[in-house]
């Protein structure tokens, strides 16, 4: 059952990510990214991260992607035109990408033995544990994050003004 769920949603995630690359229209790309995020939420649940799965759906797929869709519709972004001006990325992009992915895969297969398996319910990071850890051990980063959000709000408001 675990392996069936993992394979199903991993395939959906990879398929949606490939679709993001293949689509020419930004709206289609954004919708396929929502598909990736939704299937990743199921994988988080399988790994026992219930709070992370919830905020993945609510904040990532809900709030952030809706802002993206708003901006795409606001700017009336059409089909992207192909300009073949970045020669460096078209020549070296694919080989270097293959090197990057194979390096990561080789390291993962060297470092992690296959006896480490994921059983559903083997480790559950409950919301209670997460909240306790967040407000005891990580309370300073949490407070600094609020300053970061404030700076982001001020920056977004300033950049959104009529003339800068």
């Amino acid at each position: 059952m675990d392996i069936f769920l993992f394979l199903t949603f991993a395939l959906i995630a990879v398929g949606c990510a490939v679709n993001l690359l293949l689509q020419r229209h930004p709206i289609s790309s954004a919708l396929s990214l929502i598909g990736v995020m939704g299937s990743l939420a199921v994988l988080y649940l399988l790994l026992g991260a219930e709070f992370i799965a919830a905020i993945q759906v609510i904040i990532y797929a809900g709030a952030i992607m809706v802002v993206f869709l708003f901006v795409i519709m606001l700017l009336n972004a059409g089909v992207e035109e192909r300009t073949r001006r970045s020669k460096m990325s078209s020549i070296f992009g694919l080989p270097l990408l293959a090197v990057l992915f194979s390096q990561i895969a080789v390291i993962v297969y060297r470092v992690f033995d296959h006896r480490t398996t994921v059983q559903f319910g083997g480790f559950v990071g409950t919301t209670q544990d997460l909240g306790r850890s967040l407000f005891h051990d990580y309370v300073l980063p949490f407070e600094v994050t609020s300053v970061l959000i404030l700076v982001a709000i001020i920056g977004a408001v300033y950049l959104g003004k009529k003339e800068i």
Partner: protein, 104 residues
């Protein structure tokens, strides 16, 4: 739940695949909004590996890290989309190849 268990390395390989697809999108797409979507895809791949590591070490710290990554992604999306709107207002284009004022 019965049946064969999933090796943890499969999750890490899946996160590597998602990250690489995000890098590919960043390299080959030319629409500036799609570049931002590719960055979000890379962040999602990294989040998956962090949650997998949290499972392996039975440590809630990985979840905390994902929490902060999501917060930073939200802030980044707000500022980045405001920059995109400001750029579109002055240049009337969303093509990354046309935005080369700071290129050497």
């Amino acid at each position: 739940m019965s049946g064969p268990a999933v090796p943890l390395s499969w999750y890490l390989v899946l996160s590597a695949i998602l990250f690489s697809l995000g890098v590919a999108g960043f390299l080959f797409k030319r629409n500036i909004i799609t570049l931002f979507l590719s960055i979000e895809l890379m962040l999602n791949g990294v989040n998956l590996s962090l949650v997998a590591f949290a499972y392996q070490w039975r440590d809630i710290g990985g979840h905390i890290f994902v929490f902060f990554v999501i917060v930073v992604a939200a802030a980044e999306a707000a500022v980045g989309l405001a920059i995109i709107i400001a750029v579109f207002r002055t240049r009337q284009t969303l093509n990354a190849d046309d935005l080369e004022a700071m290129k050497l």
